[in-house]
């Protein structure tokens, strides 16, 4: 029932927006967003999957790719949620830097394999004036259904940045927000407690990487 209504609603929306010429503009950022994701995936294949690349170099390249294509600070701020306001300037700065490190070290492999497994872009949908969702899927070896990955892209028409990655219906930024929030609650609401945990985590990931 809901589905039917959604379809009718979408059709009405399309007709209306076509009538008022809104669709032209929406199409532009949709195309732009799809192209942006495609270019990022191609870059990832080229730079992360090069033969004989040392892990340290791979991490370095991924950091550049990640900062170029993701709204890193905005995501970091979102993930901290209501505690962002409670943190002082030094804590904010240190947290954002540790957040970036955690993302880079823990996602370098996953991102390489997502992008490398022939990311198949599907349709895109305009959410509002500055946000587009690009739908995609990747095939998994060993059978099973392909994994659905939605890329939430923020744009001002010229610059595009990934805001969130939704894997099979689970938003990565929401998951991290719950994760970090739980840590801060355990540390009596102190952001400094989270910062200590982030440092520990990054150190152990770094050590693990060097042992590989």
């Amino acid at each position: 029932m809901l589905k039917k209504f959604g379809l009718v609603g979408a059709l009405v929306g399309i007709v209306l927006s076509a009538g008022f010429g809104v669709s032209v503009k929406a199409d532009a950022i949709e195309d732009g967003s799809r192209q942006f994701i495609q270019v990022m995936a191609d870059q990832a294949i080229q730079s992360l999957r090069a033969d004989g690349l040392a892990q340290a170099e791979r991490v370095k390249r991924f950091r550049v790719l990640f900062n170029d294509n993701f709204a890193v600070k905005s995501i970091g701020k979102f993930v901290l949620g209501r505690y962002w306001r409670k943190a002082n300037d030094d804590e904010k700065k240190e947290y954002l830097s540790l957040f970036e490190d955690l993302m880079v070290i823990s996602y370098v492999d996953r991102f390489g394999s997502y992008a490398g497994n022939a990311l198949k872009l599907k349709n895109a949908r305009t959410e509002n004036k500055t946000t587009v969702t690009v739908f995609s899927e990747i095939k998994r070896p060993g059978g099973a259904k392909p994994i659905h990955i939605d890329w939430r892209v923020g744009t001002n028409g010229t610059i595009y940045k990934v805001l969130d990655v939704v894997v099979e219906g689970a938003s990565m930024s929401s998951t991290m927000r719950s994760d970090f929030g739980s840590i801060i609650r355990q540390k009596n609401g102190k952001v400094s407690g989270l910062i200590d945990e982030l440092k520990k985590k990054n150190r152990s990931l770094q050590a693990e990487m060097q042992n590989q």
């Binding site: 809901l2 589905k3 959604g6 709204a71 600070k73 905005s74 701020k77 979102f78 993930v79 209501r82 955690l102 823990s106 996602y107 996953r110 949908r125 959410e127 509002n128 500055t130 946000t131 969702t133 739908f135 998994r140 070896p141 060993g142 059978g143 099973a144 259904k145 659905h148 939605d150 939430r152 923020g154 744009t155 001002n156 610059i159 940045k161 805001l163 969130d164 939704v166 099979e168 219906g169 689970a170 938003s171 990565m172 930024s173 929401s174 998951t175 991290m176 927000r177 719950s178 994760d179 970090f180 929030g181 739980s182 840590i183 355990q186 989270l194 945990e197 982030l198 985590k201 990931l205």
Partner: protein, 275 residues
């Protein structure tokens, strides 16, 4: 019959344990004077968190000792094509329960599709080994009684970590029991007093599922600070996605970052640098 009763009482035992846990250990209550803290507490919806965490730790130990090594061995030693066949066949055996719940949810299109999938895959697909229906554009979907209850408007209740079965809530736990009782294979094997067939299938299903999630769960454990909290969030989001048949996840409102504050705030510096 005796074995059947034993298994049934086992399922009820799990459920009863869940209810018992509801009455035991409770999480720290938020400061009622802080509305944001109260809102987070309601949203997390995990009043028996300490108990859930202990069960989660126990499940994790069992997983690391038994299920994970078995799934890894299975994944490493059986060729992709064979695993795909097993996966498809197990899915095919599950179709009657999916069909029942498609019907109970009043979804005619999906009921027909599930029925057609069963007919095609059981014949052309060689007893389900090949998912021929997917090739014909009839992609697989899953349904279970927990989802049906949700569609009927039954609230989930609070988060509940089940022993062996993992993340759940009272509604989905009740769904598990109903799925077990309504599965034609379980009904048939209990009448034929051959419940080991059902148990064998459930074991194979568990190994197959764990093998498919090896990489993902490793990544979540690796990147999270609080594995328990990350899994709790993932479970709720995935479940919401399944219940809405994949519609919710695509809606902007339910996602994390809903607009790009960076365009005005944080990343201003960078934006002006790039212009």
């Amino acid at each position: 019959m005796e074995l059947k009763n034993r298994i049934l009482s086992f399922n009820w035992l799990v459920l009863l344990m869940g209810i018992f846990m509801l009455a035991s250990g409770c999480a720290n209550l938020p400061d009622p004077a802080d509305p944001e803290a109260v809102a987070v507490y309601m949203q997390v919806n995990d009043p028996i968190e300490p108990t859930n965490r202990s069960v989660f730790a126990l499940n994790n130990n069992l997983d690391k000792a038994i299920l994970k090594p078995v799934a890894e061995a299975y994944s490493d030693s059986i060729p992709n094509a064979a695993r795909l066949g097993i996966h498809n066949a197990l899915n095919n055996l599950r179709t009657p329960v999916i069909l029942l719940n498609d019907v109970l949810q009043g979804n005619l299109n999906r009921s027909l599709m599930t029925f057609m999938r069963f007919v095609i895959n059981s014949t052309v697909g060689m007893f389900g080994l090949v998912d021929a229906a997917s090739e014909l554009g009839m992609a697989r979907h899953i349904e279970d009684f927990g989802q049906t209850l949700a569609v009927w408007g039954v609230p989930s209740g609070s988060y509940l970590m089940l022993l062996f079965f993992g993340p759940s809530n009272p509604r989905d736990a009740a769904g598990l029991v109903v799925d077990f009782l309504t599965d034609p294979i379980n009904i048939w094997t209990s009448h034929a007093e051959q419940l080991e067939i059902s148990l064998g299938r459930d074991g194979a299903h568990a190994i197959n599922k764990r093998a498919l999630n090896l990489e993902l769960l490793n990544e979540v454990e690796k990147s999270s600070l609080d594995f328990y909290a990350a899994i709790r969030s993932l479970y709720k989001q995935r479940r919401g996605n399944e219940i809405s048949n994949g519609i919710v996840n695509t809606l902007l409102q339910t996602s994390g970052l809903t607009n790009y504050p960076g365009l005005q705030e944080l990343d201003d510096e960078e934006l002006s640098r790039r212009k």
